[in-house]
Symmetry: C2
Subunit: 520 residues, 2 copies
């Protein structure tokens, strides 16, 4: 263990122990109950502290950081309402099995019995959005609780771990350093499941392999998986939303289960057998009248070769070994023709983005209704990491980009951002400006909750004027260039596809954040 | 009961029943699971639908509406993450005993067992921020559940009632109209408590009467309370934060318990007896090392003449009757001298605001660190209704103003808005623009979480550069005029106190929203 003071308060013991265990970034929106942490972070200078002007920015950024760093940052949040503000993006992280460690300040233990203005059930608020919740008991054991939170978060699969920190256990002396604990490894491969998977592969093109999470981040596993598919005739699909997919030229394109309910059902209809690797059986995003919740056809024989707690790449290696498959060679893909002048449309936007995406870009995809069209860009562009909205809770794109840029300052970040969703956590632009992050935010300005118009049809309604007024954002029009300027981010508005590409190329080549309002 | 269709779906039965019971405004940020409500609101045209671009705007606006309308609106929210986004301002409403009815869409009942991307424990998420939670069971009973929510919310005290609405009970036919239910009346006056209060008053200036909630909204009660104090020598105080106080010339000034811990303790130190009316014993906002949580001095004899569930004005009338007190006459107050040119400072800002506040203004006070100085303005200005942040969860000012303006379009709304807090729910400006509300937002731009710097000192820390960087908002500086422009609200930046007053007077006289960035 490194050199630490002999006596310290609880907060300092947590900061020092987390840092010894490898946590060196703190995303924070602190309040009074976290002042000891602010003080400890200040005195120790061990962590990079990144401020968000809203808690949803803090957790979205921590998610983006973890997806790209492969390890958690720590967040600093404030009481039940502050946790609630952070919760939507914790929900997204939890669904993606992203490792997260939250420190949530609470009133001092002796103060909790009073109905102070900010008193509420903190543990109750945390539970629905955390995989693990514990409340710190005293200064002595505070750091070992933090190490347990880090252990839980960092296991397989990643988890959202929330440690509630009463103010007094932070300020009390008696903090004790605690050593890092080994996280849970993956569940071992189930030989019976392997046999079943081998049998399923003998069904050829009637079999679908659905692979998620770690598989999509691992190009060796993807090459082997493609080899298995080539040999057996099975189809490969990815879940609709994924925390990170390594894509682009030299990688293996993988189709995903579409979001629209009819297309999703159709995409899986041909299969009598399914092999799941690091994912769960796919279900409809929402229920609809007269539509099934389960997407695989009735009677489809499903084998989970590796669950979300398993080791997908290892399972794929074992399966390849059993069927004698070798790693495939990545297909040559051609960059689509660079669009010439004209309006930005669903037809040309994927080609435009593919052409403009810089090498090694991190793409943050909260394109929502334009996501289907844009997704194609990732396969034909230069190599990129593609990060999606995983829990359906909008408002992650701008913060996630801020956090991804903290994890990988050497790579340009491009955010494909729906306008309605951007307004949930727009404050993240300020964090991008403060940190000088090389993030280019492309606002896809269709001036509507466009995706909800489709949903209104799906439930059988014919929207009238009042309904549309709840789904349209055009009265008044949002001016994203002014909004960005207000937070210190320069920007430009474009209507022509050629100007869009030029703006992306200019912005990615320059350091610091930039915002492009793409009028659709 | 009014004329309604013979058959309707569950959602329509809820909309129609709520409307029959007097609810005619819906603040909404709908998602897919609420599409039936969007459709029903559209077809029936019974309610005014107000869209917020973030759920915290929706609930903050519903709070402001209820404080000024004296009855709840209904909110439309979406699943657990959407509820979480709304929760901070529900927390504020709950602490202020403001009546609120939330409809929270959930997945269809049959879909809830699957781990869909947006699946989470909705009821668990709602519980810490609601006084009452129920989940709708079927289309037939859906409207009667909504009527029970309205009954609970509208009682004494006001409550936050949350009805979870699975999508299918909204879209299923079989909706049944349900009649309005009578809310709980106040708890009857306790004669023993009245005797104790009479005895406490005999202690003269050693007695404090702390009056909250309904008392502060009732000028007749305030006149009688002042008469009781004048006769007995008792002191009157209000809680630190209050949902609505009728203030200004011709009303009765009432000091409030200060927010800073030392001043709060000092303000109550002189008293051996306390009489509570529509409030609870005051406690410290936060706990601090070596400071008490309970603010009344040890051994202070405390009698609750009326609890938060009691009828304060009636209790005051009974007490006045017992001690032979008559209604006092409101003191003549002099408008402070209009500040001449110069920087905007803690010394001149109260006089500036007092002079500039228009007649019958609704003042929304989220001034936070400048709140102490600004509060004085309310007593000397023209008559006004003063609405405060009640639960300590920042980010209510801009939405609350939007909602107050919907309730009282005939009155100008002036928002005293701290800059850090403004950034939590800035999206409310767009709602103000959309609704053409006469709201003037004054951003008190000190470019810091200023109040937290004081809190850092209170816990014994000496802030260094890293600590200050988590509390300062000056890198980059926020440009609120650009931010407002981006949401369709015109604005102006002022540095001189005379320009500030002129800008307020200009903006309040014009229809529609305006933002003034006051550089401090």
């Amino acid at each position: 263990m490194k050199d630490h003071p002999k006596t310290m308060n609880g907060a300092e013991s947590v900061v020092r122990s987390l840092h010894d265990a490898g946590v060196d970034v703190c995303f924070a929106n602190p309040g009074t109950s976290e002042m000891q942490f602010v003080d400890a972070l200040d005195r120790t200078k061990l962590m990079r502290c990144v401020l968000g002007l809203f808690e949803g920015v803090v957790t979205g950024a921590a998610d983006g950081y973890a997806r790209m760093a492969g390890k958690p940052a720590v967040t600093l949040l404030h009481l039940a309402p502050g946790f609630a503000n952070a919760a939507a993006n914790l929900h997204n992280a939890r669904k993606a099995r992203v490792p997260m460690v939250n420190l949530v300040g609470d009133h001092a233990l002796r103060h909790q019995k009073y109905d102070a203005p900010l008193t509420a059930d903190v543990a109750g608020a945390c539970a629905p959005f955390s995989d693990w919740v514990r409340s710190g008991k005293d200064a002595d054991s505070f750091a070992s609780d933090a190490m347990e939170a880090l252990r839980v978060a960092s296991g397989k699969p990643g988890r959202v771990a929330t440690l509630i920190a009463p103010a007094d256990i932070g300020w009390n002396e008696g903090g004790q350093m605690a050593p890092a604990l080994s996280p849970d490894g993956p569940v071992p491969l189930d030989e019976a499941a392997l046999d079943q998977a081998v049998a399923a592969l003998s069904q050829g093109s009637s079999t679908v392999i659905i692979a998620g999470n770690g598989v999509l981040e691992d190009m060796t596993a993807m090459a082997l998986l493609r080899g298995i598919a080539d040999r057996s005739g099975a189809r490969i699909l990815a879940p609709t939303s994924n925390r990170r997919v390594e894509r682009g030229q030299g990688r293996f394109p993988i189709a995903k289960i579409p979001y629209p309910i009819n297309e999703a059902i159709e995409s899986l209809a041909p299969f009598s057998h399914a092999i799941l690797i690091e994912t769960v059986p796919p279900v409809a995003f929402f229920a609809y009248p007269e539509k099934p919740s389960v997407l695989l056809p009735e009677g489809c024989e499903t084998v989970t070769l590796a669950g979300v707690d398993g080791d997908g790449p290892q399972a794929i290696a074992a399966l390849a070994d059993r069927v004698g498959a070798k790693a495939a060679t990545a297909p040559a893909v051609e960059m689509p023709a660079r669009p010439t002048a004209g309006a930005i449309t669903l037809k040309n936007i994927a080609a435009a983005i593919a052409n403009a995406l810089p090498e090694d870009a991190i793409v943050v995809d909260e394109a929502v209704s334009w996501g289907g069209a844009l997704h194609a860009a990732g396969d034909v562009a230069r190599p990129n990491s593609w990060l999606s909205l995983t829990g359906g809770s909008i408002g992650i794109g701008i913060p996630m980009s801020a956090g991804a840029a903290i994890a990988r300052p050497d790579r340009p970040v491009i955010t494909l951002q729906a306008d309605g969703s951007a307004m949930y956590t727009l404050q993240g632009l300020w964090t991008q400006a403060r940190e000088g992050s090389n993030v280019t935010t492309i606002i896809l300005a269709n001036r509507a909750y466009q995706i909800l118009k489709g949903e209104l049809h799906n439930v059988g309604a014919q929207p009238g004027e009042d309904a549309l007024s709840m789904l349209n954002l055009d009265r008044p029009e949002l001016d994203f260039v002014s909004l960005a300027k207000g937070m210190g981010v320069p920007g430009r508005s474009v209507e022509d596809v050629r100007d869009l590409m030029q703006a992306i190329e200019d912005a990615a080549a320059e350091p610091g954040p930039f915002l492009i309002e793409a009028l659709l």
